[in-house]
C-alpha cells in the first residue's frame, strides 16, 4: 500500500470489551517510541491480515491527542459486514503485531468556533472522545448530545459524563428519548459550529434541519465513513495496467485492485476523501455507489466510481487504472 499514508509498526497492548457489541483496542509502537501526535477527529487505517487476505479499515482515534504513548480505537461488531470487525473481535489479542497508518483527519474541529455543538449516534461517539479531550485540555466550549439504543449500549457514556458532567446529554432509544433538534439548533450562540457523526439517517436528518434553520454549510461538519458493503462478486478490466480481476463477495473493489498489485491512492477507505476516484472507460450493467464524495450527477453519468466503497453488477466494467 505504497500509495496510502506512512505506516506505523505497532503491537496490540490491550483489548478491552466495552459492552456486548463494542471492544476497545490499544496500540503501542513496537520500538517503544511515542506515536505521532494527532488532532481530535483523526482516524487511522488498520491493516488486518486474515490468512491470505488483507483488509484495511479506518477507525477514529479515541484517546486524548495529548497522550501519544498509545492509540486507542473502538470497534463495533458487525455480524453481517465483510468480516473486518469480526476479525478484530475474534483474532486480535494483546501482543499481536499490526500495522496502522499515520493519522489522517477528515473531521477536524473548526478552531474559530466560539462553541462546538456535537451530536453523536451509537459508535459515532468515537471521534468525539478525542475532540472533547482536546477541547477540554485547552478550555474550549463544547456540548455533546449522544443518542444510543439502550443504556448498556451507550459506549463510554459513563466516562463522558464523569469527565464533563452537564456538558454531556444522553438520549436512549428504548426510553423514547429524542434530541429536540430544532430547539437545540435554534438556541445556539452566534459562532457555534455543529458536528455530527452517527448512522447515515441521523447525519442526513441533522444536516437537513440545520440547512432549513439557516446554518451556513461551513459551520456544519459531519463524519460519514461508509463501511464497504459485501455484495455479489463481479469482474473488472483495468485498462491501464492491462489486468482483469474478480472482486469477491467480501472484498471491496479497492482491495481487489491492491491484491492484483494495482495501487490507487486512498486516504479514508470510506468514500469521503475523494482520493481513490477512478474514471470508468465503459460499462454494461449497474453501479452500486456507496460513497459520499461524487455528486448525484456523477453517479448518474456512469463516468466515475469510488472503488473503496462502491460495487457493480452486470456484464462488464472497464476502469482507467
Amino acid at each position: 500500500m505504497s500509495t496510502g499514508t506512512t505506516k506505523l509498526d505497532v503491537v496490540v497492548s490491550d483489548v478491552v470489551p466495552v459492552n456486548e457489541l463494542v471492544t476497545r483496542f490499544h496500540f503501542r509502537r513496537r520500538d517503544g517510541e511515542l506515536l505521532p501526535t494527532f488532532s481530535g477527529g483523526a482516524h487511522v487505517v488498520v491493516e488486518m491480515r486474515d490468512g491470505d487476505r488483507t483488509r484495511l479499515n479506518p477507525y477514529s482515534l479515541m484517546g486524548s491527542p495529548l497522550d501519544t504513548r498509545e492509540y486507542t480505537i473502538s470497534v463495533r461488531r458487525d455480524d453481517v459486514g465483510r468480516g473486518g470487525s469480526l476479525f478484530m473481535h475474534r483474532s486480535v489479542n494483546p501482543g499481536l503485531e499490526m500495522v496502522v497508518s499515520y493519522p489522517v483527519n477528515l473531521f477536524s474541529l473548526d478552531l474559530r468556533a466560539k462553541k462546538h455543538l456535537m451530536l453523536a449516534g451509537g459508535i459515532g461517539i468515537t471521534p468525539f472522545m478525542a475532540q472533547t479531550a482536546q477541547l477540554a485540555g485547552s478550555g474550549g466550549n463544547f456540548e455533546l448530545h449522544y443518542t444510543c439504543r439502550t443504556a448498556s449500549l451507550g459506549t463510554y457514556a459513563d466516562v463522558l459524563q464523569e469527565r464533563y458532567g452537564r456538558r454531556v446529554r444522553l438520549y436512549h432509544d428504548d426510553r423514547d428519548e429524542r434530541i429536540e433538534l430544532d430547539r437545540l439548533l435554534s438556541s445556539q450562540p452566534l459562532g457555534t459550529h455543529l458536528y455530527v457523526c452517527g448512522p447515515t439517517g441521523m447525519i442526513n436528518w441533522v444536516r437537513e434541519r440545520a440547512a432549513a434553520l439557516g446554518w451556513p454549510a461551513e459551520t456544519v461538519h459531519y463524519e460519514h465513513f461508509a463501511a464497504p458493503q459485501p455484495g455479489l462478486p463481479f469482474d473488472v478490466t483495468l485498462a491501464v495496467s492491462g489486468k482483469t480481476i474478480r472482486v469477491g463477495e467480501q472484498q471491496s473493489l479497492l482491495e481487489a485492485m491492491e491484491a492484483a498489485g494495482v495501487d490507487p491512492p486512498y486516504l479514508c477507505r470510506g468514500g469521503v476523501c475523494g482520493q481513490c476516484e477512478t474514471n470508468v472507460v465503459s460499462y454494461d450493467g449497474k453501479f452500486i455507489h456507496n460513497d459520499h464524495w461524487l455528486s448525484e450527477e456523477d453517479h448518474r453519468s456512469g463516468c466515475k466510481i469510488m472503488p473503496c466503497v462502491s460495487r457493480f453488477e452486470g456484464k462488464s466494467l472497464v476502469l482507467e487504472r
Partner: protein
Amino acid sequence: MGITFRKETFRDDFTFNNSPEHIRRFPFPFHEDSYMYAVNIEPHVVGPKGSVLENLIDVDEHYVAEMQDRALVLAEDPLRCQSLPHMTLAGWDLLELLMEQQALGYPEHFTLTRDGDRWRWINRPLGIDDTFTFGDTSTLPYGPMEYITRQSQGDFCILDQRDGNLWMDAGMVTTQADWSLDFDIGMNFFEWHAPVPLAHEKGIFVRALKFLTNIQQGKPARRLNWTMTINPRLDTSPENYHKWGPDRATVTPENLGDKVHLRVELQSFWRLPRSNGIVFPIRCYLIKMGELVTQPKWARRLHRVIRDLPEELATYKGLTRYRPTLVEWLSKLDDGSATSPGFGPD
C-alpha cells in the same frame, strides 16, 4: 564540527557572501537549459549529504545574520508577523516541528529536552536557553509561532484547512519576494494566488489545492521557485518597494557580478498534527552572479535560461529592465558546449 556563522548584512552596506562550500550547495533550480512554469511538487525527503536537503529544515552559515535582519524588519513593521486567534495551536505545532528538526539536524547548535510538557530549548548561535510549558503561551516571551520563527530561517505561512480550502491565517513573513502577509492574511488559496500569470488557468490551482489539502502527516512535500533580486536584500516586500524597486535601474556590466542575485525559494508543505493545519516554510537562498559563475555549468545554463525566457515570465519576475545586460554578461561565459543533466555543479 558545526557551522561557522557569518557576520554580514542584507541591507545598507550589503556584506552578504557565500563561502565556497555554500556556493557548491546552492539549490540551483534549473535541471535543463530552459525553464517553463510548472507545478513541480515532489516528496520532501532527505537528500544528499552536503546539499541543502541534507536536513528537512536547513540551517546554514547565514542563520545568525538572517535572524538579526528579521528582528530589524519586525522592529520597523510588527505586522510582518500575524496570527489570527484560532491559530495558536498551529503555532505550537510549528514550534515543535522546528525545534525537533533543528535539534535533530544540528545537535551541536540546538538542544531540545522534554519532560512531559516542561520543555527546555537551547539555541547556542543566538544565546538562548529557555524553559517553558508546552501549550502555555504565558511561559514564552512571544506567541509560539513568533518565538520559534524568530529563530528559524525562512518565511512561514500557516494555513487553516476548512471547507475544502486553505486559509492564510498566520505567518511570519520578512524575507518575501514581493508579496505581503498583511494583505493576504485571512484569504483563501484562490484569493491569494489571484495574480500569477501563465498559470492562470484555474485547473492548475484546483489540482494544486487538492494536492495540498491531502498532504499527510509524516509526508511533507516541496517545490522550488526562483526569481532575481538586485543586492542581497532579503526583505523585498511591497511595503518597501520604494527601497528596492529603484535598485533595478542601477545594474551595469561592471557591478552586475556583485549586485545581481539569483534568489531561490525552497517551499515545503507540512501537515501539522494537533491543529490539522498546513505550514509552508519558504526558505530563501541568495547567490550573486559572481559566485554562481564560479561553477561553469551553471554559468552556461543560466545564460541559456535567461536568454530564452518567455517575455511574460521575465516581466512577471521583474527582470525586464536589466535582462539584456545580464544576458550579454553571461554570454561571455557560455562557450556553447553541452551541460550535464541535473541541477548540481560539475
